[in-house]
Amino acid sequence: MAGLQTNKKKKNKLGMRRTGFIMAFLAPTLLVFCVFYLYPIVTVFATSFCKWDYTNITSPEFFGFGNLWDNYNYIFNKYPFFWEALRNSTTWAILGAVVQIPIATLIALALSRKVKGVKWVRNIYIVPNMISTAAMGIIFLQLYNPSYGIINPVIRLFKKGFSDNILLLHGPAFVAMTCAYIFFTGTTTLMILGNIMAVPEEVREAAMLDGASGLKQDWYIVIPMIKGTLKTVSTLAATSGFLIYNEVYFLTKGAAGTYSISYVIRELAISSPRTQFGRANAVAVIQILAGMVIIVVVNLLYSMNLGKKRIDR
């Protein structure tokens, strides 16, 4: 009897210890989550319905239910750059999934073949991804410079006497900015390559026996097998495309129709002389929601594609 009780006590003590350990080890991360993510997100949502700008910095005022959507109204109907920014950011998100991922996959497949010098190419291809996008932005700013860059001489081959700064031309500026980041897919390529290398050798051999080699094998055997990774990297590429800021800041500062959503938020909240926190947070809410939409859309697209493949068989 007595022995059982001490045993129970021991167990209880152990349970307490266990709970204490779990709590102690989780606490720092959860604290960070609450301070750095939860609290700011709640603030963003709540104050997107408040009058809050440079005139009342310390005390946001709730609009009341009658004018609940005032900030959103302003953003949609009066703020001149919102639709441009949303269109650009969405385009960059789509290009991330539609251009970056195929390029990254093609290069990863090429790198997976045992060709001479393939290790060198792989190592060199990742170098630009080790450099900050801010530095790459400045390098491209110089490349695009009309008087000493290398883009204008190339354009002059097709169009004699071209001497404009392409970053100031509506249209070309957007293309130029996109080209300043979109081809650097080093880390994505490596993640895909890692997955390609993990495809078991037996599967490849079986494919060979069925007469599928080279590109055919890649398309019918390898790609379906790495679909999970492709979905993940597509989501990441689309999300980071939607969030672009550095390229805009360093290349054009929003000139010639190149605003992005992140740029709008920072301009409204920090850099403009008449800061408008409530409205900036309204744009931030849209950015968060758009991020969720991107995840859902990419997931849907990949599951649709998979379904089709199965029917094909």
Partner: protein, 286 residues
């Protein structure tokens, strides 16, 4: 003997001409994309006046003035020091924190585990830019604005999801017998983690740390937001002063750019094996 060489579908000999040409085209494109901007930058930095000899023309004579002034007048080493300090401290804080909670989530059952996991994963999809103003205000109210502490705070707190993902995956692959053995030997929970699990999980934790360090080293958005004093800036934040600071001194600008991108590139050259294994999830050997 030649088994390895003759593996099907991978060696050059087994490829059809089309596949081979296509492969080489892809590789050539990869080289072109990576090298053109960087080679152009280095060539330009050696020209006394890049305006006089634009494009890929080689310099008449090699001019190193820009490099000398980058160290002498720009004091670039100071900013490297700032970046190293800020990125280093924040990585240490975040990695210790995450490896503790990832362990609990990977190994123990408790109420609300799914919720905790979901919350931490969700941070991957919360754009930091959307939190610009609340975090900016938080930094101000903690009296951290324009201090190195501000950036350490931001970096240690952001990027939870990726580190969590990498480290938890690593824990999942460690056999549970080890802990049981340690428990039987009389180790408490903390001791078991500290003395048995942490050393074994070190490669996974290092991977997370390297990725986080690179991110923090290159981070521009927050670095330009919460710091003002020039002496305290990190390397990326210093870049935004470049376009105006150098005005028409292009030789100086190009040289400074080369110096600034050099540390991460050198670090990568020395540890490329490590980087490549880390980024490819261990499947590609460097």
């Amino acid at each position: 003997m030649n088994m390895r060489k003759d593996k099907p579908g991978k060696g050059v000999k087994n490829m059809s001409a089309f596949t081979r040409i296509f492969t080489y085209l892809c590789l050539a494109w990869a080289l072109l994309v990576a090298l053109v901007p960087l080679v152009w930058l280095v060539i330009s930095s050696l020209k006394e006046d890049p305006l006089a000899r634009p494009g890929f023309q080689l310099p008449e004579s090699i001019c190193l003035d820009g490099y000398i002034s980058t160290f002498k007048d720009l004091h670039v080493l100071r900013y490297f020091g700032n970046s190293l300090f800020i990125a280093g401290i924040s990585v240490i804080i975040s990695v210790i924190m995450i490896s503790m909670s990832a362990y609990v989530v990977a190994r123990m059952e408790f109420k609300g585990k799914t919720l905790v996991t979901m919350l931490l994963y969700s941070t991957m999809f919360i754009p930091a830019t959307a939190l610009t103003y609340p975090v900016y205000r938080l930094v101000n109210s903690l009296h951290l604005y324009d201090t190195r502490g501000a950036l350490i705070f931001v970096y240690a707190c952001s990027g939870i999801a990726v580190s969590f993902f990498v480290i938890k995956n690593y824990y999942d692959n460690i056999p549970r017998d080890l802990e049981e053995a340690a428990r039987i030997d009389g180790c408490g929970y903390v001791q078991t983690w500290l003395k048995v699990i942490f050393p074994i999980a070190r490669p996974g934790i290092m991977t997370a740390a390297v990725l986080a360090f690179l991110n923090n080293w290159n981070e521009y958005y927050w670095a330009s937001l919460v710091m003002i004093t020039r002496e305290k800036l990190t390397v990326p934040a210093l870049l935004s002063t470049f376009t105006t600071a150098f005005n028409t001194n292009y030789n100086g600008l190009f040289s400074a750019m080369v110096v600034i991108i050099l540390p991460p590139v050198l670090l990568y050259c020395f540890f490329s094996k490590f980087f490549i294994e880390a980024l490819s999830g261990g499947a590609v050997k460097g």
